[in-house]
Symmetry: C2
Subunit: 144 residues, 2 copies
């Protein structure tokens, strides 16, 4: 059966062949994280029903939760008006989206002229990815 | 009085000096839109309390609502774990964030292999920006 990929061609991919993808928690409405997708990642996300991103630092597909178990089950995939941003409504397995062990990646808020941490670490990264950090997304300073 | 800009230096700006900024509705939790900010735009957003973006198509600061009146009053500014995405919690004046006249920009949902429009136009762009389109953000095919 031929696959109809027309919907993928409707995306305005960047020169690098990427678009930002926002993961939003289906229950709480919180914005959990932003990562990048290429054509293959978006297709894999749609087909598998779980979020797959493109890791710019590791230069490969990144099946969210492949190391941590913190899979994102995808309830819907949305596209914005100029076809260059994806919005995923997800069920965040384990309740932790961020590689720092927090519920979400936006854990700092600007107060005056300072970024203040407002959200607690729920699980230490060493416990999530193994004592040596494994090839945790955070290794190398990137959340990917 | 010297301004403390250290918080701006903590951002991981892209090679183009930009970061994506998500605007989320403070009331509904809906993700309204994504645009881009440079250093000046983020600083202006923090100082003015209203969202200011960088228009990549027009190559100038874009004070959201400058044409449409659909200003975004900023309640909080958040930063993600790898310091390269901004999340704004906003009060959307007029209830319309998208240049298409919809409440938000993510008005298409993937169903099977088709993008399906799920959200209505609340006000025709011609009524928002003037009959000739003015220099509406949408002109030229960009949401900026």
């Amino acid at each position: 059966m031929a696959t109809n990929d027309r919907w993928l061609r409707e995306i305005n991919w960047s020169q690098d062949g990427l678009v930002p993808a926002i993961a939003q928690d289906a229950e709480t409405g919180k914005v959990l994280m932003v990562a990048w997708m290429n054509r293959e990642a978006l297709k894999a996300t749609a087909e598998s029903g779980a979020a797959v991103y493109w890791s710019r630092s590791r230069k490969r597909l990144w099946r969210k939760g492949e190391e941590s178990g913190h899979v994102q089950k995808v309830r819907s995939i949305r596209l914005d008006c100029d076809e260059d941003v994806i919005l995923l409504e997800v069920e965040q397995v384990g309740g932790i989206a961020c590689h720092t062990g927090r519920a979400n990646c936006f854990f700092r808020r600007l107060e005056g002229s300072q970024w203040v941490v407002t959200d607690p670490v729920l699980k230490e990264p060493g416990q999530i990815y193994g004592a040596d950090g494994g090839d945790a997304p955070g290794k190398g300073g990137s959340a990917e």
